[in-house]
């Protein structure tokens, strides 16, 4: 059929290149339709036995334990109880006088470093003048107080 014999389109238009690509699209479709087959299978009677297992809490209202408000309330109650128990039963006063001396020396020996003890010393170094201040009678007394074993140990 020659172009000038084609029926008048009456104003209807087709997308650009529609007829040029029509055959190509048709062939693609025929090719793919030929390959069409549902290879996916289901277990026997799957659809007949299919049942939706709705969660139990769907029908009854359950208060969520993990809600923020619940957690805050529970924590507050627990803290109040703990505080009350502490104030009621822990009335024994702790001070340095009733510390067990053996326990204290064990703690000092095991836990405290020598450098830490320096913190308790005044930052003043001894010099020769400090010794010259001692009067003769005091010096005599000091010498008398020194134990022989102490000298041997040093």
């Amino acid at each position: 059929m020659k172009k000038n014999h084609l029926p008048h389109n009456n104003g209807f238009k087709v997308p650009k290149d529609y007829f040029n690509s029509f055959e190509e699209r048709l062939n693609t479709q025929l090719y793919l339709d030929d390959k069409k087959s549902n290879s996916f299978k289901t277990p026997d009677n799957y659809f007949e036995n299919f049942k939706v297992n709705l969660p139990q809490n769907e029908t009854s209202k359950v208060i969520r334990f993990s809600s923020k408000k619940t957690i805050i309330i529970i924590t507050s109650i627990a803290a109040t109880i703990a505080l009350l128990l502490t104030l009621t039963f822990n009335t024994k006063q702790q001070n340095l006088n009733n510390l067990d001396s053996e326990l204290l020396s064990a703690y000092v020996y095991d836990e405290i470093e020598t450098e830490d003890l320096n913190l308790f010393l005044e930052d003043v170094s001894l010099n020769e003048a400090d010794f010259l201040k001692l009067k003769n009678d005091n010096l005599e007394q000091v010498i008398n107080d020194i134990e022989l074993e102490d000298i041997i140990q040093d």
Partner: protein, 180 residues
């Protein structure tokens, strides 16, 4: 009032909800199953997601306003749940979504619920090579024979764009199948 509108009303009425829900499941279980199955490929994964889809529908049917058709709403939930399933699997295995899909395709040969010949396996590989949206469009048109108008309301894409997408997908798949 159409049957679908009546079904929605019954689903939203607490007195008739359970009966209407059974009707809904009976009506859509197969269609939704195949929609999900063509995305996920594995029967077990599909079964899990199909359950989730209906549970979600049961929970949120009161929020359905009827702006779209019920089947579009169901298909949208099924599509989203399937994609979420792949995302979660990818995160759990610490691989990409594409790698998850490749893994699934590789497992098809050993799948007792896949009985395809070599060409069918190659077809699945070809589909898997497409971008995610084109895969959806191709599966919905080729396997489920959905109308473009239906696909348009499910995927919120114009019919023209869907036709172009399907055509592109078909060409790519044809080329993939014709290579050795």
């Amino acid at each position: 009032m159409t049957d679908e509108q009546q079904l929605v009303l019954n689903l939203q009425n607490p007195k008739t909800k359970n009966k209407a829900f059974s009707e809904l499941v009976a009506l859509y279980k197969e269609r939704l199953y195949w929609h999900i199955r063509h995305i996920l490929k594995s029967h077990d994964d599909t079964d899990d997601v199909l359950q989730n889809v209906f549970i979600k529908v049961h929970k949120s049917i009161d929020k359905f306003k009827g702006d779209s058709k019920l089947y579009s709403w169901l298909y949208r939930i099924a599509t989203n749940e399937s994609i979420t399933f792949i995302n979660k699997k990818a995160k759990r295995l610490q691989i990409t979504n594409e790698e998850v899909q490749n893994l699934t395709i590789n497992n098809l040969q050993a799948d007792v619920y896949f009985e395809g010949e070599a060409i069918q396996l190659k077809l699945q590989k070809a589909i898997n090579s497409l971008p995610e949206k084109q895969q959806l469009v191709f599966n919905m048109k080729y396997f489920q024979d959905l109308k473009y108008s239906e696909m348009s309301s499910i995927l919120s894409t114009s019919e023209g764009a869907l036709k172009t997408s399907y055509h592109l997908a078909s060409k790519k798949i044809e080329a993939f199948l014709k290579t050795d």
